[in-house]
């Protein structure tokens, strides 16, 4: 049997060797590690940016002001303006909305499809489970970006298309992880007891398996969120994501490229935003994993 492809080290180890079902180590929480804290802070920062933007932004991010184009950062424009005179800071704030929105919907779609599929694959007969796994593996040949480009070719580029495409591309990650976790849960004694007592599989799935894979879902959600942010940024960069004039970090980056020789800072700010956001979600995912169930992966 070939070694199972590892997910990101510690991103939901396939076939982990927990002695007891995942997510059951509730009594053994440790103090939150630095990854968790920093990750959470960054994510909260991004969320704050988005929320604030609903209420107030220094300027209207879509407001074109040719008189002050390419202004350097100053008291008036905290991060300066772009080639159209739009305030960079405001664009970043509103762009955070897009980033989060796409991430939430994409991960939501992936989880809503992937979790039940994963549980199904674990609880179904060998043959059906295998077929299901092969099917999702096939999806792995279509990374998020490619799928999104394909979707955009057919349906035109938009935020909705991006979200759905990224979501579908993220399904395999959830399916594999949840299936692995569900298999472990099903080996436990209390599930055995439930089955012996004649509980219907659906009931077992919902009452026993689902709650116990919860922590797996949370961790994977965080990691997949990071990937979604990256994919959305790439899409916007290519012109397939959120169409103008709605600000998006990826498109900001793309627009900055022409001005690279005169105003490289225009690339720095959205770039930094993207990188920091992705970093934040990754750290959060890692930190959550360590915190919720140290046995998901050996503590290194």
């Amino acid at each position: 049997m070939p070694p199972t492809p590892p997910q990101q080290p510690g991103r939901g180890a396939e076939g982990g060797v927990s002695a007891s079902p995942v997510g059951m180590a509730r009594g053994r929480r440790r103090r939150p590690g630095p990854s968790l804290v920093i990750g959470a802070l960054i994510v909260l920062g991004v969320v704050a940016m988005a929320l604030v933007s609903f209420v107030w932004t220094p300027y209207d991010p879509t407001l074109v002001d040719p008189a002050s184009r390419l202004a350097k950062p100053s008291a008036e424009h905290l991060l300066g303006t772009d080639k159209f005179g739009r305030d960079v800071f405001s664009q970043l704030l509103v762009g955070a909305r897009t980033t989060l929105f796409v991430g939430i919907v994409a991960v939501g779609v992936a989880a809503l499809i992937g979790v039940p599929l994963g549980i199904l694959a674990a609880m179904a007969t060998r043959w059906f489970g295998e077929v299901l796994m092969r099917g999702t593996d096939l999806l792995l040949a279509f990374p998020a970006l490619l799928l999104a480009i394909m979707f955009s070719a057919v349906y035109g580029g938009s935020t909705l298309v991006a979200m759905i495409a990224i979501g579908i591309a993220t399904v395999p990650a959830f399916v594999r992880l949840i299936r692995s976790g569900a298999l472990q849960v099903m080996r436990t004694e209390y599930v055995l007891a439930a089955r012996a007592a004649g509980r219907r599989p659906f009931a077992i799935g919902v009452r026993h398996v689902l709650p116990n894979v919860g922590s797996l879902v949370i961790v994977q959600a965080s990691v997949s969120f990071a990937i979604a942010v990256l994919a959305e940024a790439a899409l916007s960069f290519l012109g397939f994501g959120t169409p103008p004039p709605t600000p998006s970090w990826g498109r900001m980056l793309q627009e900055s490229q022409e001005m690279l020789f005169s105003a490289p800072r225009l690339a720095l700010f959205p770039g930094l935003a993207i990188a920091v956001a992705v970093l934040g979600f990754n750290l959060l995912g890692d930190g959550l994993r360590d915190y919720l169930d140290p046995r998901l992966e050996d503590r290194r």
Partner: protein, 316 residues
């Protein structure tokens, strides 16, 4: 072992078939008429109908699918709806370019990841290991196109050492070719290296705990030597797996990098086709990409058998 090869070949063929159906079905769902798109809104209905027949779009879907797959097997990818030029040669040209990019990036990533990952694993409790670990976390968060822009800013804009974009075939001007290859390959390589480093670290840490490493030390090898002689081959297996999985990401990442550096690779062909609604081109390019990924995975599976003797017949 033969059984294994046959089995993997079977899986490969089934996957190829299934993905071709997926890709075709996906494109077929498209609203709108490729012929009309090609001719423009004001074209006459007859002209459009004639073009449809030429493209074979009036045949039943099954027939279209079979004829497309048949063409793929004959390496005949048809003609672009937009330019009417043969698609096959275009893809072949562009593929070369993309391959240069991807392979170079992969090599750079490996060359960086293996030693750094090993050091991170061996020193995982020291400050140096933790610092490197933090660095790799940051590296993973930097998408290729961002890395590209940053590199351009530093090396092309500020320092002027390397060109900011463009592409020259190697046989035309080798020096310029290399100069134009460096930054794009590096952009792809940075995030790849970060990802691979983390896997190498994880894998080496796993191997370090293995009993046979202890046996090697009991023979008189130092920890590093034991790891080098006994660990690397075993640590290599998960890393190779990841390489294969990452290839899909890398190929797609190349799409964006090609846009940043204006490189005529497969990625830009795809993007242009999408913009032009040249759907047969999109279909073909996507299929080529998918075939490439599936094929690499297949090869890697076979590579396992070469690396790990336990996968050959007769393990106890």
């Amino acid at each position: 072992m033969l059984l294994r090869i046959l089995q993997r070949t079977g899986v490969l063929l089934a996957s190829l078939l299934a993905s071709s159906v997926l890709v075709f079905a996906f494109m077929a769902v498209l609203p709108g008429d490729p012929a009309r798109v090609a001719l423009g809104v004001n074209a006459s209905d007859e002209a459009v109908a004639e073009l449809r027949t030429q493209f074979g779009l009036d045949r039943p879907l099954i027939e279209q699918y079979l004829s497309w797959v048949g063409g793929l097997l004959r390496f005949d990818l048809g003609e672009s709806y937009v330019s009417r030029a043969a698609i096959g040669p275009q893809i072949a040209d562009r593929l070369q370019v993309s391959l240069w990019l991807v392979v170079t990036a992969m090599v750079i990533a490996l060359v960086v990841a293996v030693p750094f990952g090993t050091v991170m694993a061996v020193r995982h409790r020291h400050v140096s290991g933790l610092l490197l670990s933090a660095l790799s976390q940051v590296g993973v968060a930097i998408p290729a196109f961002l890395a590209g822009i940053l590199l351009i800013t530093v090396f092309a804009v500020k320092l002027g050492w390397l060109p900011a974009n463009g592409w020259t075939p190697p046989n035309q001007d080798p020096v310029q070719f290399v100069r134009q290859l460096i930054l794009p390959a590096l952009s792809l390589a940075i995030v790849q290296a970060a990802v691979l480093t983390r896997y190498v670290r994880s894998s080496v840490l796993d191997v370090q705990r293995e009993d046979y490493i202890r046996t090697a030390r009991a023979k008189g090898r130092s920890s590093m030597a034991a790891l080098r002689h006994h660990g690397l081959r075993n640590a290599g297996v998960p890393v190779v797996t990841v390489l294969a999985l990452q290839l899909a990401t890398l190929l797609i990442g190349a799409v964006v990098v090609e846009r940043v550096f204006v490189i005529p690779g497969l990625g830009s062909l795809l993007l242009d086709a999408v913009s032009n609604r040249d759907l047969i081109m999109v279909q073909d390019v996507v299929m080529i990409l998918v075939i490439a990924v599936l094929f690499v995975n297949f090869l890697v599976d076979l590579l396992y058998v070469a690396i790990d003797p336990r996968l050959r017949a007769g393990a106890r």
